[in-house]
């Protein structure tokens, strides 16, 4: 069986950034395995601009951002296999993969980085009544069809869900000649960025109906009409508010889910909140030597943060490989807990001796908060308080923990959203 120091599953922005960081940390025996025909992941279908403002200080399109990282992979001579699907990862870090050229093969890794990204919530998970005619697509599938295959899925479109991919597709399909009639969002706020609402909907006079959902889909062969209705505080449709839109296409933009089938077979513990692995400060999962980053860990909306996070995972994977066994931590761990609106944190716990000087803790809030602060407590002692005029579930938040602050006998870190008094 062929051996590698580091095997990276997925060649999207997370996989590439992890590989580059591990290489720069002194581990060069790396293999990236990617099931698609090119590196870059989902960015290859995101042809709109707005990527990389934090990383490159300029606004790039998805393919351009991906190309800059792919270039760094090539320059380092890091090995990658395309058109290759990983089928299984064992707890002993044997990776089983398959492609047309080699058939089924196994490689033994000293460390593994999970970077498989996420997939879209499917219609089944959404529980919309009615037949299942043709013409219903996830927004991401439509994006791939229009942008990579030059195929327009329909002419008259209703979109359910106001996540960024749905908003971007509302504009894209409008530009390509379709009529986007309405975007319906179940929640009383949009899951998408303000900028996308303005530039993708307002620019083209596409109405956004908050607190609305699809209650009926007509058509047996092909979608013929969609009925939406307003929902109450219980998110149940309010009778009498129904509006019918004739259309041939329904796009669903209802959120993303980390893709963790492989993590499960490897015995990695998953968080019920994020659906991604539970990780420590080094972004290492519950299985020693298996690390995770990017959308497989928790869903990101900005690729810049994916790249940053993945670099941390890659660096720690390299340190793990060089130490040959985990540099002995004292075994002490500190739990990070989110309260008062903090839905989850990544990482979920810290081993203080293994921590970097500064540790970025990322999280999401469960509701829209105005005039609140993010407050950090070590046990019951307040350590930091940062005012945030507005926070929303669609935008990831972060705080920085400093190692020097954590030295004493802290047993618990708590992150809480508190109203400003």
């Amino acid at each position: 069986m062929k051996q590698y120091d580091l095997v990276i599953i997925g060649g999207g922005p997370a996989g590439m950034a992890a590989a580059i960081a591990a290489y720069d940390e002194g581990v060069s025996d790396i293999l990236i395995i990617e099931r698609d025909k090119e590196l870059g992941g989902i960015l290859n279908q995101c042809i709109h601009n707005g990527f990389g403002l934090h990383t490159f200080k300029e606004e790039l399109t998805g393919p351009e951002y991906a190309a800059r990282f792919a270039q760094q992979v090539y320059e380092r001579g890091i090995a990658f296999k395309l058109n290759t699907m990983v089928m299984d990862i064992s707890e002993q870090k044997v990776v089983t993969a398959m492609n047309a050229h080699d058939g089924m093969f196994e490689v033994q890794a000293k460390a593994v980085v999970l970077a498989m990204g996420c997939r879209e919530r499917s219609r089944g998970a959404l529980n919309i009544p009615g037949y299942r005619p043709a013409g219903i697509y996830s927004a991401g599938t439509a994006q791939r069809l229009v942008n990579m295959e030059g195929f327009m899925p329909g002419k008259e479109v209703v979109i359910l869900g106001s996540g960024d991919i749905g908003l971007i597709m509302a504009r894209r399909m409008t530009l390509e000649g379709a009529k986007v009639k309405v975007v319906a969002e179940l929640m009383p706020y949009s899951g998408g960025l303000k900028r996308n609402i303005v530039q993708c909907l307002n620019d083209f006079d596409i109405p956004l109906k908050l607190s609305h959902t699809v209650v009926d889909i007509e058509g047996k062969e092909r979608v013929e009409a969609v009925t939406i209705a307003q929902v109450g505080a219980d998110r149940k449709p309010i009778p009498g508010t129904e509006e019918r839109y004739t259309c041939d296409t329904l796009l669903l933009s209802c959120g993303l889910l980390p893709e963790n089938e492989l993590s499960r077979t490897a015995g990695v513990e998953l968080s019920p909140v994020t659906s991604g692995p539970v990780v420590n400060e080094s972004l290492e999962t519950s299985v020693e030597g298996i690390f995770a980053c990017g959308n497989v860990l928790h869903v990101h909306d900005l690729v810049d943060y994916v790249s940053q996070e993945a670099a941390v995972a890659g660096r720690h994977a390299a340190e793990y490989i060089k130490a040959d066994a985990m540099e002995k931590s004292s075994g002490k761990t500190i739990q990070i807990e989110g309260e008062g609106g903090v839905r989850y944190t990544v990482p979920g716990f810290i081993r203080p001796d293994c921590m970097d000087e500064n540790l970025t803790v990322r999280f999401r809030v469960g509701n829209v908060y105005q005039n609140c602060s993010i407050v950090t407590y070590f046990d019951d002692r307040e350590i930091a308080r940062r005012k945030r005029p507005v926070m929303a579930p669609g935008e990831m938040e972060q705080i920085i923990l400093q190692k020097k602050q954590l030295q004493n006998d802290v047993s618990r870190v708590k992150i809480v959203i508190e109203p400003n008094s």
Binding site: N44, I47, T61, P63, A67, N147, K194, Q199
Partner: protein, 123 residues
């Protein structure tokens, strides 16, 4: 001409302030609703000279894939978005294409070029 009130949402930060711009002919009389100066600047630009980057794709001849993604090299007037898309619809380019290659010069007389955002090799 009568006074005109234009309502906008500032995209400067996640706060997304609702802005009200009072305008008479080409002159802006006031901007309200912004929490910081960036909102004021955004409103003035949006009302007098709104611009956007346009991204799309064009057909490729002789490439390993059918289309190549592209963008306006800088922003163009917002009211020309559809004209630019129309030009791109009729456009083809021959592989190979490299990132940054100019696909259309001076699109719609904007002084802005359309450049490729992805590499496409010959088939």
């Amino acid at each position: 001409m009568a006074k005109e009130i234009i309502e906008l949402t500032c995209i400067g930060c996640p706060l997304g302030c609702s802005l009200k711009v009072e305008k008479q002919d080409a002159e802006i009389l006031s901007v309200e609703g912004n929490t910081c100066p960036r909102g004021d600047a955004y409103a003035r630009k949006e009302v007098t000279n709104p611009t956007r980057i346009v991204t799309s794709s064009v057909k490729v001849v002789g490439g390993e894939v059918e289309t190549v993604s592209c963008k306006t090299a800088s922003d163009i007037p917002k009211n020309l978005i559809f004209s630019v898309i129309e030009v791109l619809r009729g456009q083809t380019v021959t592989a190979p294409v490299r990132i940054g290659d100019v696909l259309v010069k001076n699109v719609c007389d904007t002084g802005v070029d359309i450049v490729a955002t992805k590499e496409v090799q010959s088939a």
